[in-house]
Structures are given as C-alpha cells and as structure tokens.
Amino acid sequence: MTENKPIIGIVDYGVGNLGSVRNMYRRIGIHAEIVDTPAAMRGCAKLILPGVGSFDRAMERLETSGLREPLDEMALHRKAPVLGICLGMQMLTRGSEEGERPGLGYIAAEARRFPRNLGLKVPHMGWNLVRASTPSPLTAGFEDETRFYFVHSYFVTVDRPEVSMIKCTYGIEFDAGIASGNVYGAQFHPEKSHRFGREFFAAFGAL
C-alpha cells in the first residue's frame, strides 16, 4: 500500500452503521477507514459522519468522544470534504426539533418533525425518488428514476435555496441532500441504496 495515501475516514463516535459504509467503499475500490481518534481523523483527506438514533444523544456522543474538535477543524479550517449521512446530515445543521442541543451549524438549515396531520406513516421508511435541486458533482450522475433508501422521522429544510442539493417528497417536499462549500449531507443511506448509492459515494470519493 502507498504511504500517506489520502483516504476517506468514517468517523466512529459510537453511533451509526459504519460497517456498511466501509463495505460499499470497498466494493467501489476506494480506500475508506473507520477512524476514532483526532489524529486518525486529521490524517484523512475526507470525512464521513454517519448517525442513527436520537439527535441529542448523537451530538453528546460526538462531543464526549473528543472528535467534535477535529471535525470542526477539518470542515471549517482545512476545508476537507465532509459528508453527513442520515442523522449525520441533520447534525450539520444548526439544530433539530427532536432535541435541545445545538447542531454543528456548518449549513444554514434545520431539522423538523414530519407533520402528523398528513396521514403518513412516520418514519419515512423505504425507497423514494429524488431530484437534484442545485447542480453538484454529487448529483451529476442522477437519472430520471434515481431512488434512495430513507429511514427518518425528522426532515431538513434549508434557509436558502442554494444550500439545497437534493429534493424529495413525502407528503411535503423536503431537502434530502444539502451542500455548502466543502460540507455535504445526505438524508438517505447511500450505503444501502444499490447502484444509486454506489455512484453517489463514488462521486464523493472523486471530489
């Protein structure tokens, strides 16, 4: 193996399905590693922030793990590409109706609860069609019928249309992908979305 080869670090702060993200990158043929120390994070060219469960618990875990600081440094100062997945994307915003803790605040957006009066089952669980809302290298390969696997009870809504990258509709239209500079978020699970997810991850790897 080449030394100091730039890699994608999958941030392990005790929350999220890390194995399947790594498996997908292994299949694509891009070197991705699970990282759980500040030093390992700083050694990566890009970071992926996964997340499942509740907002406050995930934010608390990230902070007590000591990985918040290197994440801020990579995202805000070194401008390394960072991709938040599912709850990891909601954490990139300033906060969520689900919790009390503030989010990371990298992207001008917030997470809200799906309205209960729409007669829809919550969580929004299953495969749904998406469309690119603002051009991005991550959505350049989208087809007419690009679909992803979603599981979430809260959705993200952006402050300004230019930070919306992908839209999806479940009762209401919401932002399924967001982007601001070097920071990206995907509400869906690329690691569980067959070739659509593979292409999305490959595009992040190629940034």
Binding site: L18, K121, G126, H189, K192, H194
Partner: protein, 254 residues
C-alpha cells in the same frame, strides 16, 4: 409517495438457506452469501434473514455467516433468530445489518424490544409475530419457530410490541407460509389497523396481485416473499428471482 416495500425473506437452517411450508417440510435453496449476492444484483428493496433453528436450539446468531452476507448486501437487511440480548443486537448491527427481528425472546422478556430501541432507535427493531389460526376466527402468536403456543392474540400483541418500542412488525401467517395461496388478508388488516407502525405481511404470496391485495386491502406497508423469489413456479425447481421493477410499480404503485 413510497411504493410498498417488497422483501425477500430467507430462512437459514444449519448454515443453508431452506424454504419451508407451514414452518415444516424443509427444502434446500442454496448458500446464504451466494443467494444474497443474486438478490443484491436484482436490486431488491430490502432483505430479511431468519435463522429458524437459533431460538429452538437456544443459541445466538451465526455472526460469521452474517458477516459474509453483509458484504454482499447493499440494501437494508433485517436479521432474526436467537437475539435475546442488546449486546447480540449491537453485534449484528455493527456487522452492517439495519434491523433486528425479535420474536421468541420478546414473549419471554418484553423489555428487550425497548432495550434495543433505546440504544439504537426503534427504526431498527422489528417484532416478529408468527401467527396460527387456533379456532374459528381465533388466532394466537407462536414462539420458537411455531412450536410454542403463547396463547396471545396477535392484535393485542401487536399493540403491545408497538408500545414496547418496536418500529415495525413482521407478521407471518404460519398457515399460509409456503402455500402460494395468498396472504391471510383478514389477519393482515386486523393487525395493520391496530397499530401505527409499518406492518410487513408475510406468508402465502403467490402472485403479484396477492402483493397488491396485502397493501391495498390489508393495509400492509411492506410484503415479504418466500416461495415467489426462490422457486421458478409452484411445484418447480429452485430459481432465485425477483419481479422486475416496472411489474412491481404496476402492481403496487399509487
């Protein structure tokens, strides 16, 4: 809107995939990892894998098999069989599975559902209800792969598991399982109407119109398939397959 999810449900017995009829009469289907690779190529919505001997033998999951399966699956996978502790659930989730199916253990220790939901979210907790008709218009939930009658009525147990933290219900009709004769729509409807969480109808699917009936009349959010996706046709040989997406759209689209 979401299309009804269509989920191959694979049964593991002694390290091999089998297909059963009414929870008996085992027929060899193939190797788990190979079969999952084929379903991955078919781009199935999700997969469910159930080790039908684990609870019967009182043992935990076969992690090695699950690791091999996880490497082949780029879609959500639910695993069930022998999960009796939060630690076991965590180990399975860490391998790359999305959901944990709990059946037998939920009857013995109902707190397990909330324990897993509390640690990893209710979206990953699937309560399995294995239901058999026990009299005229009466049903009961069974544990240990259909061998123990718990005497619990499926509608009240469904409400209970939702309250305990389950995020989804895998509702299997033992009477219909492996029969190609269609879902027990009455059962599916009574359980779907009793809960707000998604119900996966399982047992009896033989045609695409069966799937449509489970969704439209039964109110199921998802359907699980056995025979239809592992056999070429009724009374014919093994052929791992999955209906083409346009056919599913036509049968289940809104």
């Amino acid at each position: 809107m979401l299309r009804t999810r269509v989920i191959p449900c694979l049964l593991v017995r002694d390290g091999s995939l089998v297909k059963t009829r009414q929870f008996g009469r085992f027929e060899y289907v193939g190797d788990p990892a190979n079969t999952c690779r084929i379903f991955n190529e078919c781009e199935v919505d999700e997969l469910a894998i159930v080790d039908i001997l684990a609870s019967v033998e009182g043992r935990g999951p076969d992690y090695r098999m699950l690791e091999e399966v996880a490497e082949e699956c780029f879609m959500p996978v639910a695993y069930g069989g022998g999960i009796a502790t939060v630690d076991q659930a965590e180990k399975v989730l860490r391998l790359g599975m999305e959901k944990i199916i709990v059946g037998t253990a939920a009857h013995r220790q109902p707190g397990l559902l909330g324990g897993i939901a509390g640690a990893f979210g209710s979206q990953c907790v699937v309560a399995a209800l294995d239901v058999r008709r026990v009299g005229h218009e009466r049903y009961a939930c069974f544990a240990r792969s259909g061998s123990d009658n718990t005497g619990v009525d499926p509608v009240s147990w469904a409400r209970k598991v939702e309250e305990l933290g389950a995020g989804e219900i895998l509702l299997t009709s033992i009477d219909r399982e492996g029969t190609w004769s269609g879902f027990d729509i009455e059962l599916v409807r009574s359980v779907s109407e009793a809960v707000t969480i998604p119900v996966i109808a399982h047992g009896g699917a033989g045609t695409l119109s069966d799937l449509s009936e489970a969704a439209k009349t039964g109110g199921a959010s998802a359907v699980a398939l056995g025979n239809m996706v592992v056999f070429q046709k009724k009374d014919m040989g093994v052929l791992v397959n999955f209906p083409e997406h346009p056919l599913l759209e036509a049968a289940l689209g809104h």
